[in-house]
């Protein structure tokens, strides 16, 4: 039994009732309603895709594919449930498939604000080394745990929202997140102890 539809998702701030009205219009082939849904969710969808792919053009392609896939499958959407976790699940799955299938491309250049973090060359080098180790540890996590960390620590979703996106139990999310963070925390502490 799905939970009752909420007027607005308190945590995400998304007006789920408005989404539901738009979905009902899209079901009848209303292109304007579909455009509104795209406009409302494309930025968050892009951010999620980018977290997984770390490549802007790939993330844009994934967002486009995800919205088209959502349109193809929109008849299967339970309109008593909010639209955005369902859409983000498609985005995550598309991005993971994209990531698995592509040969790893060169990453986008690191933003200037991140690259220039550190007042002295020594601190800069230490921070860069720590970032590299943490990145390696993040990449070495099992795919499911890595995705959860990306959604939780980088995109700010809580465990309940991640459970909705990944269609798994919140307790499972909390368990995987705990395991992933324990691994990353060890790497962080080791790197700080060395540096």
């Amino acid at each position: 039994m799905p939970p009752p539809r909420q007027q607005a998702d308190a945590e995400s701030g998304i007006d789920t009732a408005q989404d539901t009205l738009l979905v009902e219009r899209v079901l009848r082939g209303d292109a304007e309603a579909y455009g509104d849904l795209v406009r409302r969710h494309m930025r968050r969808a892009f951010a999620i895709a980018y977290r997984i792919l770390e490549h802007r053009e790939d993330a844009e392609d994934v967002v486009q594919d995800a919205f088209l896939r959502a349109l193809e499958r929109i008849d299967s959407l339970d309109t008593r449930r909010p639209f955005h976790p369902w859409l983000y699940r498609i985005v995550v799955n598309q991005a993971l498939n994209y990531r698995r299938s592509r040969s790893r491309r060169a990453m986008d250049p690191m933003p200037a604000t991140v690259a220039a973090a550190g007042p002295t060359p020594e601190e800069d080098a230490e921070a860069a080394a720590l970032r590299r180790q943490l990145r390696s540890a993040l990449d070495a996590l099992p795919e499911r745990q890595r995705t959860m960390v990306q959604l939780a620590d980088l995109e700010g979703f809580n465990s309940t929202e991640i459970a909705g996106i990944l269609d798994i139990a919140p307790g499972t999310v909390r368990w995987h997140l705990h395991a992933a963070r324990r691994t990353l925390r060890k790497v962080l502490e080791a790197a700080r102890g060395v540096t």
């Binding site: 079901l27 991140v114 990353l184």
Partner: protein
């Protein structure tokens, strides 16, 4: 924000939202979705037509459906009445109650006998005599 989350955010680049041409991306998505939306609109229109046709069908057969539980017994009763009436007409045309297996009263049998006697007398009369009987019969008993 705890130290791990902060360290992760420092280690991983932020999504370059400012580098994305959002209107162009939206146009791309809308254009790619246009055929599917048009097909969906066509299907929805056809489904609407079928729904209207179904409503129109209901318009004429629904009263029948409502009345049929009462109509069937009424029709059955009318049939019985018609059959009884038809049987009465036939019995009035020459079939006696005795022929039908019923009881006949003495009065009925006498009336039938008198009528049969009258018919035998009348059958022996010619046309002019029949006319006299018809014109001048004043109700006297035979």
């Amino acid at each position: 924000m705890d130290a791990l989350t902060q360290a992760l955010r420092d280690a991983v680049p932020e999504p370059p939202a400012n580098d994305v041409d959002w209107p162009a991306l939206r146009v791309r998505i809308d254009a790619a979705a246009a055929p599917a939306l048009a097909a969906r609109a066509t299907r929805a229109g056809a489904a609407g037509g079928r729904a209207r046709a179904a409503r129109a069908m209901r318009a004429w057969w629904q009263p029948l459906a409502v009345w049929s539980p009462r109509g069937i017994p009424v029709a059955a009763a009318a049939t019985v009445v018609l059959m009884i009436a038809a049987g009465a007409v036939r019995s009035g045309g020459g079939t006696s109650a005795l022929d039908a297996g019923g009881f006949v009263t003495i009065e009925e049998e006498l009336a039938n006998g008198v009528a049969a006697g009258a018919r035998s007398i009348l059958s022996e009369l010619d046309a002019d005599a029949m006319l006299d009987v018809a014109l001048f019969y004043d109700g006297e008993e035979w």
